[in-house]
Amino acid sequence: MSFSQSHPGYTPAEIMTIEASRRLKDGTVCFVGIGLPSAAANLARLTHAPDVVLIYESGTIGAKPDILPLSIGDGELAEFADTVVSVPEIFRYWLQGGHVDIGFLGAAQVDRYGNINSTIIGSDYAKPKVRLPGAGGAPEIASNAKETWIIIKQSLRTFVEKVDFLTSVGHYEGGDSRARSGARGAGPTAVITDLGVLTPDPTTKELVLSALHPGVSVEQARAATGWDLKIANLIKDTAPPTQLELVTLRDLHSRTAKAHGITLAPD
């Protein structure tokens, strides 16, 4: 089966999830956020990385859900986990203790240095335009995991010059400012979107477009970015989904929809 670029036979959300999943190496310890990170991490586990270790903040270590959890504390996560510990233990012993390789996060906004906002939209904390759910586990995942990945749909709404509220630190103000701030780990090493992948410049730490999904142009990526997006010298082309990846992801989503008895909000 081949995929044409104009009718690629898969959605932008699918290629985003698939490309993120490919980056997860077998055996990696991944602290997984709910939604897109969870879909990508489980797709990896069901394809090339059967021994990836998935940790959810609800305390499930080595989770192997057969369907995607709707919430971070679904019973499905506990049922097949290697062990289930308390919430303070997961944050103190496992995350802050330094055992997490990849912190895998979603976000409402991300800025040019990979800082994350999940608190408010608007400039006034007391009178926000939109009140978002809040920090959750993100601030300490972002500052304690060995590295961070962010998965987010790219648009002028989500890709902003400066986040309205800095909830969770990325490369902070660029350069070595993250390390000087006291954060541990390498910070965001990849931002995976529905258009491509951004990675930090080694020196300035500004996010640079370094890969594009099939059929997406540099111009499209620029148009969906709220700052003057820099482009890597060598842009990689994301490989189109394989049959196995696509079938596995769709099966996962259809099992999930069936089990939860409702259709999930589209990714």
Partner: protein
């Protein structure tokens, strides 16, 4: 020895008072919804509500005017969307103004631990670079006397009353929690008084040796409330009612529809069993 096992209405009447600091904890799993409804029925006011993950039951309590303040780290209807009553209270002061104190999960967990440990504060490697401390005077810093490192310090949480839901209790009131145990043990041990609702009271807990057991003597009241966590789930008893969680999105969007629903379902029923029957749940 006076029995700790009593009806939920009695436990709430005896222990929950206006103006208290209250934690109804549960991490997606085992949320003490029935207890929240009973507090709404008894019309408690001016509560400071604490919870890592306020969701539907806190949306209901806030919308019904029980709370004047909320301390939390993530507020939402998991997998569905926003909490409309929570947002309406914060943004528009309806039905009354609610102030917020916002933390992260790691911090809230550490603060409960400090409270359970009899310590006045918690130390955290956290909030690095974050704007949260700018808006929360309770997030301070502390310097390690050995390494000179500067870390975050936040006050312990010691609620007046903690309420949780668990799978089972024995006749003495010893409680077993199983599955995703969240922050419940810490929240109970940190509280001045703790109420536990359980799915059932059994002869023998059959608790594995190193499982999460709360002995009866740290609990003020234990109440048998089957399906007391609905629409949340109780591992081994029933699943999460995802359809209801989606429905709540619609009910809660509109003030009138919200009030109508609460009046009919919660204020209009005398207890959780009647609520379940009226709502047609199981």
């Amino acid at each position: 020895m006076e029995s700790r096992i009593m009806p939920l209405a009695d436990a709430v009447r005896r222990h929950v008072k206006d103006g208290q600091t209250l934690a109804l904890e549960g991490f997606t799993h085992l949320i003490p919804t029935a207890a929240g409804h009973e507090i709404i029925r008894q019309k408690r006011r001016n509560l400071t509500l604490i919870r890592m993950t306020p969701d539907i039951v806190y949306d209901q309590m806030i919308g019904m005017g029980c709370a004047s303040s909320l301390e939390f780290s993530w507020g939402g209807n998991p997998g569905v969307g926003s909490l409309h009553r929570f947002r309406d209270a914060i943004q528009n002061g309806w039905p009354n103004a609610v102030t917020i104190s916002e933390h992260s999960h790691a911090d809230m967990a550490g603060r409960y631990q400090a409270g359970a440990s009899g310590l006045p504060f918690s130390v955290l490697r956290g909030y690095v670079g974050s704007d949260l401390p700018k808006h929360n005077p309770n997030i301070k810093s502390i310097t390690c006397p050995f390494t000179g490192e500067v870390l975050a310090a936040t006050p312990a949480i010691n609620p007046d009353v903690t309420i949780i839901h668990a799978q089972k209790a024995d006749r003495k009131g010893n409680v077993l929690i199983h599955g995703i145990i969240g922050i419940q043990k810490e929240a109970v041990l940190a509280a001045k008084a703790a109420i536990v609702t359980v799915e059932e009271v059994v002869e023998d807990l059959e608790a594995p040796m190193n499982s999460c057991v709360l002995p009866h003597w740290v609990l003020a009241a234990v109440c048998e409330v089957p399906m007391g966590a609905h629409p949340s789930y109780a591992h081994g008893y029933y699943d999460r009612d995802n359809a209801f969680c989606k429905e709540w999105e619609v009910i809660s969007r509109d003030r009138d529809r919200f009030l109508e629903w609460m009046n009919a379902h919660v204020l209009g029923t005398p207890n959780h069993a009647q609520f379940l029957a009226y709502a047609g749940i199981r």
